[in-house]
């Protein structure tokens, strides 16, 4: 009678799933066509990462090929709104549909609003667009900054 180790089997199943999902991820993540426009999918565009350090929040948005002039940022009630437009081939270039061999990139206008975890100083917000990534630096307001409290030992 063969002895089967259930844990080993589970482990191999888990690995198989990891392998399958990694393979899928390669094709769809992060830019499947439907993921571009908010109206067409649950996923919003652009995707963002939020980082923080002691003084600032950093919002990094994944937005390749966006004309920097069209990017519009606004801050109201602790909500940051990013909007802009991604162009097809570049400004002023028109391509006939039949000229396409492959069309995987998606384009259009987008807008996205994110809520920030705490209050920020709206006057000192900075934004940078580099290599297709948008970095917004939002300094925390004095009230929101963490305060060090010293413990008195009596």
């Amino acid at each position: 009678m063969a002895y089967r180790d259930p844990f080993r089997e589970m482990e191999s199943l888990r690995r198989e799933f990891d392998r399958i999902f990694n393979a899928i991820e390669q094709w769809t993540f992060p830019f499947s066509r439907v993921s571009f426009l908010p109206g067409r999918s649950a996923r919003q565009y652009p995707m963002i990462n939020l980082n923080e350090d002691k003084d600032n929040y950093y919002v990094e948005a994944l937005a390749p090929g966006v004309n920097p002039k069209t990017i519009d940022l606004s801050l109201a009630n602790n909500c940051l709104t990013i909007s802009g437009e991604k162009l097809v081939a570049g400004a002023g270039i028109e391509v006939k549909p039949e000229a396409y061999h492959r069309s995987e990139r998606a384009c259009g206008k987008f807008t996205r609003t994110i809520e920030l975890p705490s209050e920020v100083d709206a006057d000192k917000v900075k934004a940078d667009y580099q290599n297709g990534l948008l970095l917004v630096t939002l300094p925390k307001s004095e009230k929101a900054k963490p305060k060090q409290i010293t413990v008195n030992v009596g």
Binding site: R15, N49, L62, V66, H101, G132, L135
Partner: protein, 134 residues
């Protein structure tokens, strides 16, 4: 223009999960989405490579294969609070046909979008022939 994908990891070949070798390469790669369109002068390849700077992009033609490679870098410092994506390095290859003039290929990376121009060789360009009416 046929696409040729050369596997970068050796792990894909085996299907047996229990014996599958964990990858030895430190990086995983992402296939960038591309648009390819044809004009009278040649082919234009547009690829989205967010997070790749000019220095970290590596575009080469070798043995009739066009390789697009890019190392990505995040911009934001600090500790992550909320993460929707992580940047991976990009890799994609295309087989070039004979109509491409490989000496005249040019590439331009701007705003995270790579535009490669692949001009056609002279004899592949369409020519207009005027008809003489006698």
């Amino acid at each position: 223009m046929a696409e040729r994908t050369i596997p970068v990891t050796t792990t894909v070949k085996t299907t047996e999960a229990s014996t599958r070798e964990e990858t030895r390469q430190e990086e995983r790669y992402l296939t960038p989405p591309v648009d390819i369109y044809e004009t009278q002068e040649g082919l234009v390849v547009i690829a989205d490579l967010p997070g790749v700077s000019k220095e970290n992009a590596d575009i080469r033609v070798d043995n009739n294969v066009l390789t697009i490679q890019g190392k990505t870098q995040h911009l934001a410092p600090g500790n992550p609070v909320y993460t929707e994506y992580t940047l991976l390095n990009f890799f994609r290859q295309f087989q070039l046909s004979e109509i491409v003039d490989q000496e005249k290929i040019s590439a331009d990376l701007k705003n995270g979008t790579l535009v490669i121009h692949l001009p056609k060789v002279e004899k592949a360009k369409p020519k207009r022939i005027t008809v003489n009416v006698a």
